[in-house]
Each structure stands twice: as structure tokens, then as C-alpha cells.
């Protein structure tokens, strides 16, 4: 499984033709306490760079973009009951949704862990 990162602070784990998407630990740290996450329903068609989810901290609502194009197959039901999972385990249990990839070549422009670490300094 390969993990990629976007400049918009999302991570994407690709496992075959399904990918899991969340926001990075750095992003949750910047957002602060997450109080609500609005997730896309299964079946939603996503376009790379388009709106995919909304994460709300105490202070602000922030858009989360689709890192690649495809279709949502599942969103993380655990976040409905416990949105703080995004703070406690952003890159694990706090995942947002799983999606199919319609064009695997869209992954080419994304960063790997080392590049992302350098990106956020």
C-alpha cells in the first residue's frame, strides 16, 4: 500500500483500485478541536480538486478536496459519533472516506511522506 499527500493537507492510501482519504496530522493540529465532519455519501462522484468533505473546528469550517477523481464507496461512520478521532488519530482511525480511482495517473503529481514532511517544514 502506498500513501500519498496533497498540498491541501490530505493523505490518500491506495490499495489496488480503492483509496482511503483523510486529512494529515499536521492539518488537524492546525485546525484544532474538530467538532463536526460532513462526509460524502457512498456513490458520490468526486473530481480531483473538487469539494469532497467539510471539517469543522471550534472556530472554522474548512473544505476538504478530492485528491483524485473517482466514486465514494464508504464514509467513516465513526466520525459521526466521535469527530475528535480526527484530532487523536488523523492518519488512522480518523479517516474520512474510501473511493475508487477513475484515473490512477492522477496520483503521479502527489507527494510521498518525505516530500510532504519537507512541504510543511
Amino acid at each position: 500500500m502506498t500513501r500519498y499527500f496533497t498540498e491541501d493537507h490530505e493523505w490518500i492510501d491506495v490499495d489496488g483500485d480503492v483509496a482511503t482519504v483523510g486529512i494529515t496530522d499536521f492539518a488537524q493540529g492546525q485546525l484544532g478541536d474538530v467538532v463536526y465532519v460532513e462526509l460524502p455519501a457512498a456513490g458520490t462522484a468526486l473530481t480531483k480538486g473538487g469539494d469532497a468533505a467539510v471539517v469543522e473546528s471550534v472556530k472554522a469550517a474548512s473544505d476538504v478536496y478530492a485528491p483524485v477523481s473517482g466514486e465514494v464507496v464508504e464514509s467513516n461512520a465513526a466520525l459521526e459519533g466521535d469527530s475528535a478521532l480526527v484530532n487523536s488519530d488523523a492518519e488512522g482511525e480518523g479517516w474520512f472516506f474510501r473511493m475508487t480511482l477513475s484515473d490512477a495517473s492522477e496520483l503521479d503529481g502527489l507527494m510521498d511522506a518525505t516530500a510532504y514532511a519537507a512541504f510543511v517544514g
Binding site: 491541501d8 493537507h9 490530505e10 486529512i23 499536521f26 492539518a27 492546525q30 485546525l31 484544532g32 478541536d33 467538532v35 463536526y36 460532513e38 467539510v54 471539517v55 469543522e56 473546528s57 471550534v58 472556530k59 472554522a60 469550517a61 474548512s62 473544505d63 476538504v64 478536496y65 469527530s83 510543511v120 517544514g121
Partner: protein
């Protein structure tokens, strides 16, 4: 990710890359270096670089203030001194409140109004030995000063106390901390102020604040502020608290934020601030904006500021429109997650016929309707240290 409807204090993610240096064009607080050393995340607010939060985060800082004591730096606010023999008369031409009736050391909430009765700013006026000490909002302090200079007569002097910092210590443990650090200040009652000494350093201390909690606001020479902040934070009950928690605390206390819940298009009656319109001044009706304001008094305003209880977990924020069926009946002016309530809450303006408590409305958020109910503005009971009735 990007922030929606980003306002200065919400500029959290955009501020991520390098918070080690202030941005150019922003003014620097006297405590700037101290905030950074405390782990403060600095964001632009009211033309200043200010701490939106420290390492603990907004939620923890909010709850800490409700249970212990929080130290807030509000030095961006304007501290003015209006003096001269006719200062009270002159202020009464611009404010709807009883200024002449203030005893020395007594303070009052009031409003700077324009000719149409619109609110130019909300402020605190305190009678002190030198004149009237006025604290105004940082974001509009230059406009306020221009307005005062234009309207005050020549024999009234306006001094801008820009060499002073302003700190607020708020929370149920604020009194015991002040009793240890500045004992005389702990004797004050809510909405009273006095000159106190911290060692040899003079402080102008008032028992007031913007959180709904008991607390103090302390005006101090800018070059003494850091040592004083250190002295307060040496007490185990005190932590520095950022702007983010200040906003959620005042929202729960039902207190309006100028530029959001009040502006030049809102009147004191619409803003649910008729307590600032004193009886004598209503009868005299001799201040700028009196006629349009009094035409609405006490309940003839077409809309009114109300509190809103929000169903579910999704925050309803500033700008959300309010509906009854297809009819737009109002707009949210502040809203977010309320840590002490444990749910989202909001405040906003609704048409008078929908302003009664318990009225069911819907807020529109990202194209979806969220049920909301008109509720009391004060969601967390005020905990003020009031003077006992004689």
C-alpha cells in the same frame, strides 16, 4: 483544505507556514514576544498580530477559563481618556446612556451612534479622577476617534492612551489570583474600577470582562505588561487564553461582537441592547441618533438580535440565512460550537414576528436546512461579582 468565509481570527490554516515572524503591516502587541514564547499561534486580527490560541487549543482554553482563570491580552482595544469640565455633557451628546450620573469608579456599557441610530461601536465608559476612561473596539478605534474629534467641543480633550496595554483576567478563580497579586483590586465589585498598585506600578483595574465570568480588566504601562503577565501566570490557576476561546466564551454569554453582531446598520433596539438607553436620556432624547432609536423603543424594531439553539452537531456560523418555510426571516451573525454547552449555538437577527423564544426556524448551511430554535442569548449563566443591594 481551505477555510470557508475566512475571517481574520479564523485564518488558522493560512497562517501555518511561518508563525515565527509577524506579517508586515500588522501592528505588534506589547506582549508579542511573550505570546510567542508561550506557544501562541499568531493571526491577524483588528490590524494586530494576535494569539488565536496557545498549545492547549480553543476547547481546553475555553473550559479552563470557565473553571479556573484565563489571561487575555486585549491591548488591541482603544483606551481613550475624555477630559475637561464639560466632558460628561459632551459625551452625552454622542451616547444614549447616563454619563453624568456615573459616580467615580463606576462604569457603564454604552454605544456610539450615528445620526440614523446605527451603532458605530460599543464601548465601556468609566468615570475616573482625570475624566472619562473609554475602552473601544480595536478594529474601529481610529473611526471612533475621528467621530469623537469631529463632535466633541474644543474644551474637551481626547487623549489616546496608546502607551498602555490592556489585560483581562477572567474566571471563577480570578478573584483569588488578584487577591494574591494586587490585593486592593479584589475588593472591587462588578462594573466598578479603581487605581491600584502592583508594587510601585500603577494599574487601572476594573471588575468587568467579556466572558460572562467574574473577572478583571487591567490597564498597565506597556513596558510593565510582560512582568505583570508573568506574575499572574505564576499562579497555578492562570493560563494565557487566545482570541478563539474569547469568542466562544462571549458567544455563550450572549455578548455581541462589534463588526459581526452589531454594525452601522443595526440600532440599539434591534441589537437587544435597550439596557444601554437610560430613562433620563430617553426622556431628554438629545443625543445623536436619538429620534430613530426612540421611535423603535422599546419593541417596535422590525428585527431583533436573538439567541439560537441548534439541533444536531453541525455548527451554524456567521452568514447563514434563517428561514420559515421558503420565507427568509433573518441571518446568523455569530455561531459555532459552544464548549460549555456541548453543542453548536448561534446568535443572529430575525424579523420581529419570529423573535419570540421557542420559535422554530431553519438555518441554511451549505444548501442544507438545519432546525434551530429562538433561545435566550445568555446560554451560560453570568457569574458576576455584583455589589449587594443596599
Amino acid at each position: 483544505m481551505t477555510n470557508q468565509n475566512q475571517s481574520p481570527e479564523e485564518a488558522i490554516l493560512s497562517q501555518t507556514i511561518d508563525s515565527s515572524l509577524p506579517e508586515p503591516d500588522l501592528q505588534i502587541l506589547p506582549l508579542d514576544a511573550w505570546h510567542r514564547a508561550q506557544g501562541g499561534r499568531m493571526v491577524p486580527f483588528a490590524d494586530y498580530s494576535m494569539p488565536v490560541q496557545y498549545a492547549d487549543g480553543i476547547m481546553a482554553e475555553h473550559l479552563w477559563t470557565r473553571e479556573n482563570a484565563g489571561l487575555f491580552d486585549v491591548s488591541h482595544m482603544g483606551q481613550l481618556m475624555v477630559s475637561g469640565e464639560s466632558a460628561a455633557d459632551a459625551l452625552e451628546t454622542l451616547l444614549p446612556s447616563d454619563i453624568k450620573g456615573l459616580a467615580e469608579g463606576q462604569m457603564r456599557y454604552s454605544l456610539l451612534l450615528n445620526e440614523e441610530g446605527g451603532i458605530l461601536d460599543d464601548l465601556m465608559v468609566t468615570r475616573c479622577p482625570q475624566g472619562y476612561y473609554v475602552v473601544v473596539n480595536g478594529a474601529v478605534k481610529n473611526d471612533d476617534m475621528a467621530h469623537l474629534i469631529e463632535h466633541l467641543p474644543d474644551d474637551v480633550t481626547l487623549n489616546v492612551m496608546d502607551d498602555r496595554a490592556l489585560l483581562a483576567l477572567q474566571g471563577p478563580h480570578a478573584e483569588e489570583v488578584m487577591a494574591a497579586v494586587v490585593p486592593s483590586a479584589a475588593q472591587l465589585y462588578f462594573m466598578h474600577a479603581d487605581l491600584c498598585l502592583w508594587g510601585e506600578v500603577p494599574l487601572w483595574v476594573s471588575r468587568s470582562g467579556y466572558t460572562g465570568e467574574d473577572g478583571f480588566e487591567i490597564s498597565i504601562a506597556a513596558d510593565e505588561a510582560e512582568a505583570f503577565a508573568e506574575a499572574l501566570c505564576a499562579h497555578e490557576a492562570v493560563k494565557p487564553i487566545g482570541l478563539g476561546a474569547r469568542d466562544s466564551l462571549r458567544l455563550e454569554a450572549g455578548l455581541p461582537l462589534y463588526g459581526h453582531d452589531l454594525d452601522e446598520t443595526t440600532t440599539p433596539v434591534e441589537g437587544n441592547l435597550t439596557f444601554a438607553l437610560s430613562k433620563r436620556r430617553r426622556e431628554e432624547a438629545n443625543y445623536l441618533g436619538a429620534a430613530p432609536v426612540l421611535a423603535q423603543y422599546p419593541n417596535k424594531a422590525p428585527r431583533r438580535r436573538v439567541g439560537l439553539a441548534v439541533e444536531g452537531k453541525m455548527p451554524v456560523r456567521e452568514g447563514a440565512l434563517l428561514f420559515v418555510g421558503d420565507q427568509e426571516v433573518g441571518k446568523v451573525t455569530s455561531g459555532g460550537f459552544a464548549p460549555s454547552v456541548g453543542a453548536p449555538i448561534a446568535m443572529g437577527y430575525v424579523a420581529a414576528e419570529y423573535a419570540a423564544e421557542g420559535t422554530a426556524l431553519e438555518a441554511e448551511v451549505r444548501g442544507k436546512r438545519v432546525p434551530v430554535t429562538v433561545a435566550p442569548l445568555v446560554r451560560v449563566a453570568h457569574n458576576y461579582h455584583r455589589k449587594p443591594k443596599a
